[in-house]
């Protein structure tokens, strides 16, 4: 049996998360995203937290791997606040 190709959902399903409901650690301003043509976040977020829906960029914090890539590529400042999750929340790597 060859090792299966995994969808983003399946990949994230391998991980252990403790989502901080109601306290997103990244805030995105959709009005600013509407003015952003390049939308690099959609391509480079390894967790696909940024997705195009009806031509608009939608963001969902769940599944965030805390890499910081969106922070460094977002030149249009749609990412208005980026911090690490509160202690004990977010991803826990066990064997990476």
């Amino acid at each position: 049996m060859t090792l299966k190709r995994l969808s983003p959902e399946e990949l994230l399903g391998l991980d252990r998360f403790n989502v901080d409901e109601g306290h997103p650690h990244i805030l995105v301003d959709r009005a600013r995203c509407a003015l952003c043509a390049a939308r690099p976040c959609v391509t480079v977020c390894p967790a696909r937290c940024y997705r195009l829906k009806d031509g608009q960029v939608a963001f969902d914090c769940a599944g965030c791997l805390e890499c910081g890539t969106c922070r460094v590529v977002c030149k249009d400042q749609g990412v208005t606040s980026w911090t690490y999750p509160r202690a004990s929340f977010g991803i826990t790597f066990r064997c990476s």
Partner: protein, 424 residues
């Protein structure tokens, strides 16, 4: 010393922070080591090879206690073109004997062990503590703030990794630039040790490190495959700006890599158990901020953007450890101002000189064709040379030149050769 005051507070229990805390605590300094993850390593990820000289520098023989995975005795470079691959395999069973050279590692266990070593030396280790800000008095950093808590120290060491929010808050450097980092994605795949030994041609305890070029659809970056005990680490690092311009989601390209036949054959029967991503400092010396200290504060490890990537050799953890030691030595020096003493130690421990030696190397990655056309050329040329079909072969030289021309023009070839020469 009151209860809430330490000689040193180290923020971040990666290899940089734990090395620093260890070196300070063993000399009797009071040290608080803070980590936002529930355990050290819970938030961390690397490709997974540690150049062990760094542990030896910290304490001779320390590597014998460390949870190292496999001693790397085979180095492989893989040039990928679609389903084809050409792999160069360099093996020497003596590598890593005696003075250790490099081992594969798993961060969850390495970092946990390392923080426990610091604790064993006398440091206070607190996991599950996110540092939110710095305390400043009269232009001097005097401590940290974590939630409601404030803690004071003579020196705060920022070991908070590539996205150093603390260094930025201290005004030492701006946000990390996209061109200065790579984004790495990685899957950990469980496979029995006996299968790994057989498949990779090693005996128990020995391991293989493979890098791959040509698996990024032309985006600057490369793949890696490392053997651990009972698992494999597979991943790709991408330049985020180029990846964005390319437009295909990076985890899609990564999944294609998993299906590349020469990789898939090595993974067969394995079980994916974890997926992660992390940034990595990519441009070496030119990425290091001009200021790594201010009164009461030092910046070490990835936070200082200490990294080397030659495409073949990827180093960050060893430099993190060495810089942690440099900071500790500077803090232990009586009388001298800590910042300049730290910079002097980075010279003495050969960290900055090494970064300077590789300073222009990153220019090689400016040759975009390395990531697509040249791996294709190698595969096509070798594919042609190995081809036997019973017919009279076309004239060798003519055919080989045609293959070269199909991939690059002679002008590009000359320009790339010059650029490569200038970078070395």
């Amino acid at each position: 010393m009151s209860d809430d005051s330490f000689d040193v507070i180290v923020v971040g229990a990666g290899p940089a922070g734990s090395a620093c805390a260890f070196a300070l605590a063993r000399e009797g300094r009071s040290v608080l080591l803070l980590e936002r993850g529930d355990s050290a390593g819970a938030k961390n990820l690397s490709g997974g090879r540690l150049y062990t000289y760094a542990l030896e520098l910290l304490e001779p023989g320390m590597y014998l206690r460390a949870p190292l995975q496999r001693r790397i005795v085979r180095e492989q470079v893989m040039l990928v073109e679609g389903r084809r691959a050409t792999t160069l395999d360099v093996a020497d069973p003596a590598w890593g004997e005696g003075v250790p050279r490099s081992h594969s590692v798993v961060r969850a266990s390495l970092d946990e062990w390392f923080a426990a070593e610091a604790e064993g030396a006398g440091a206070v280790f607190a996991a599950g503590m996110r540092v939110d800000g710095l305390l400043e008095e009269n232009g001097r950093i005097v401590g940290i703030r974590a939630g409601e808590d404030e803690m004071r120290a003579g020196v705060v060491v920022a070991a908070d990794g590539v996205n150093s929010l603390l260094g930025q808050q201290a005004g030492l450097f701006p946000d990390v630039a996209a061109r200065a980092v790579g984004v790495g994605v990685k899957e950990t795949i469980e496979l029995p040790d006996a299968v790994i030994d057989d498949r990779f041609g090693v005996t128990a305890g020995e391991g293989v490190a493979r890098v791959a070029i040509g698996c990024t659809e032309g985006v600057s970056g490369g793949g890696f495959l490392y053997t651990n005990r009972g698992s494999l680490s597979l991943g790709i690092v991408f330049n985020p700006e180029q990846a964005a311009a390319h437009g295909r989601p990076i985890q899609e390209i990564f999944q294609d890599f998993k299906e590349q036949p020469a990789i898939a054959a090595l993974l067969e029967g394995g079980t994916s158990v974890e997926y992660g991503a992390h940034l990595v400092p990519e441009i070496g010396h030119h990425g290091v901020p001009a200021r790594l200290h201010r009164e009461g504060m030092l910046v070490i490890g990835d936070a200082a953007q200490f990294g080397i990537n030659t495409g073949l050799v990827i180093r960050g953890m060893d430099l993190a450890i060495v810089s942690g030691l440099a900071a500790a030595r500077a803090i232990l020096q009586e009388g001298a101002p800590t910042g300049p003493a730290y910079m002097a130690q980075l010279e003495e421990l050969a960290l900055l000189p090494t970064l300077r030696a590789y300073a222009e190397f990153h220019g090689i990655f400016g040759i975009s064709r390395i990531f697509k056309e040249y791996p294709a050329l190698a595969n096509q040329a070798l594919g042609f040379l190995f081809q036997v079909d019973g017919r009279v072969p076309p004239p060798m030289l003519k055919e080989l030149l045609a293959i070269v021309r199909k991939n690059v023009s002679f002008r590009q070839l000359a320009a790339d050769a010059w650029k490569g020469y200038r970078s070395l």
